[in-house]
């Protein structure tokens, strides 16, 4: 358990004015913008900045944070404000500080007499490409802030088992009704939105429902053509490589991309031919290459001009 210093996160003093805090936040949020920044930890940093500013940028929350922080320090208690989604569950850099609205509502009793629907929460859910082809059930864990019997803030781990429907694509949102922030005064909970992301895999690239798969082939397979067996996300398929295929050639397998869902049709699978040379590390291999060099009259740089 560790106290999170939001002032340090924004690089300002505890006495900083609202304007100084705003300026510091804007400067840093630009620096670490995940779409632009070259910093390796840009995502995590952005999340941290948003969390810190979500509290320090709001005078009421800032005052409560200052008070809570020092009170808990004196009492020697750990204080753990951030919601800190579990490991299977990487939050997408924002809205996480909704937790604070909730925490302070409990602590200060601000909303106690109101009936208010809980806020919606957002997070990202990383899945394998395989899951989009076949559907899957995944267990995610999230930490939920709660007050214990002594009125201290504790986090409770909550696991959810989520069905991932066949045919999902990156960027799609999965809505789990009633799994967001709890409501107050007996009102219903908000919804939880999960943004689907694919875990990067070296062999596959995905664009919408189309999938690109790199397939290594031997020089003779590329030159002479023939049938090869390829493992694809939907199982092994036998594909005919046309004779005289060069590296980079695309073979399209219609309908073998990510399966259709609703009215959206299935995507296509593109096999990208990559010619791989056997190394000349035996006498036999060297002699075959030497024979080709003598007999093929092949100049790959013929088209380059002088």
């Amino acid at each position: 358990m560790e106290y999170k210093d939001y002032y340090a996160a924004l690089g300002v003093d505890k006495t900083a004015s609202a304007d100084e805090i705003k300026k510091a936040f804007r400067k840093l949020v630009r620096k670490y913008h995940p779409d632009i920044s070259k910093e390796p930890d840009a995502d995590a940093k952005t999340k941290e900045l948003n969390e810190a500013y979500g509290v320090l940028g709001d005078p009421e929350k800032r005052a409560a944070y200052d008070q809570l922080g020092s009170a808990q320090y004196q009492g020697g208690q750990g204080f753990r404000p951030p919601p800190d989604w579990g490991s299977a569950f990487e939050s997408s850099a924002d809205n996480d500080n909704d937790f604070f609205a909730d925490l302070f509502a409990h602590v200060g009793g601000r909303r106690r007499n109101f009936q208010m629907r809980g806020d919606d929460s957002h997070a990202a859910l990383q899945i394998d490409l395989h899951d989009a082809y076949h559907g899957a059930s995944r267990t995610i864990s999230l930490r939920v802030p709660e007050l214990d019997g002594q009125g201290r803030v504790v986090t409770r781990e909550r696991t959810l088992s989520v069905n991932i429907p066949k045919g999902v694509t990156a960027g799609q949102q999965l809505r789990l009704g009633g799994q967001g922030q709890p409501g107050s005064g007996g009102a219903e909970a908000g919804d939880l939105y999960l943004e689907i992301q694919f875990r990067p895999e070296a062999r596959y690239r995905v664009e919408g429902r189309d999938v690109y798969e790199t397939v290594p082939v031997a020089p003779w397979e590329a030159a002479l053509g023939g049938e090869i067996e390829v493992p694809t996300p939907s199982g092994r398929v036998t594909v005919t490589v046309p004779a005289n295929s060069q590296g980079g050639r695309k073979l399209r397998l219609k309908g073998r991309g990510i399966p259709g869902s609703g009215t959206a049709p299935a995507g296509d699978l593109y096999l990208l031919v990559e010619v791989v040379l056997p190394s000349a590390d035996t006498e036999a291999a060297r002699s075959l290459y030497q024979q080709m060099a003598r007999e093929m009259a092949f100049n790959p740089r013929a088209g380059m001009g002088g």
């Binding site: 924002d94 809205n95 957002h122 799609q172 919804d191």
Partner: protein, 100 residues
């Protein structure tokens, strides 16, 4: 282990105006204004009750709201930033496809 939760995939069941506003923590009027000015839901006409928003609209709306709040940006400026961000992401994904 609890029973598996069946999520609803947006795009099969797109969001209404109220649902989108709630998911972005903004007022419905905020959304209506940005649809009317062409920032959200390209070329939507008709009554707001008939509008439906997909996953892409949700991501876009949340980013617009975030830029406006973080930088006190005008809605046009926020829209420009989000348009450029979307273009950068599109180009980066093309680059990845080309193996860079």
């Amino acid at each position: 282990m609890e029973q598996a939760i069946q999520g609803v995939l947006l795009d099969e069941a797109a969001l209404t105006l109220e649902e989108l506003a709630r998911a972005c923590a903004v007022e419905p009027g905020w959304v209506v204004h940005r649809v009317r000015t062409g920032i959200l839901l390209n070329e939507a006409g008709g009554q707001p009750e008939a509008w439906r928003f997909t996953s892409v609209d949700l991501v876009r709306a949340r980013e617009l709201a975030r830029i406006e709040q973080d930088f006190d940006a005008s809605e046009e400026l926020a829209a420009l930033v989000v348009d450029l961000t979307e273009e950068v992401r599109r180009l980066k994904s093309r680059l990845r496809l080309l193996g860079h």
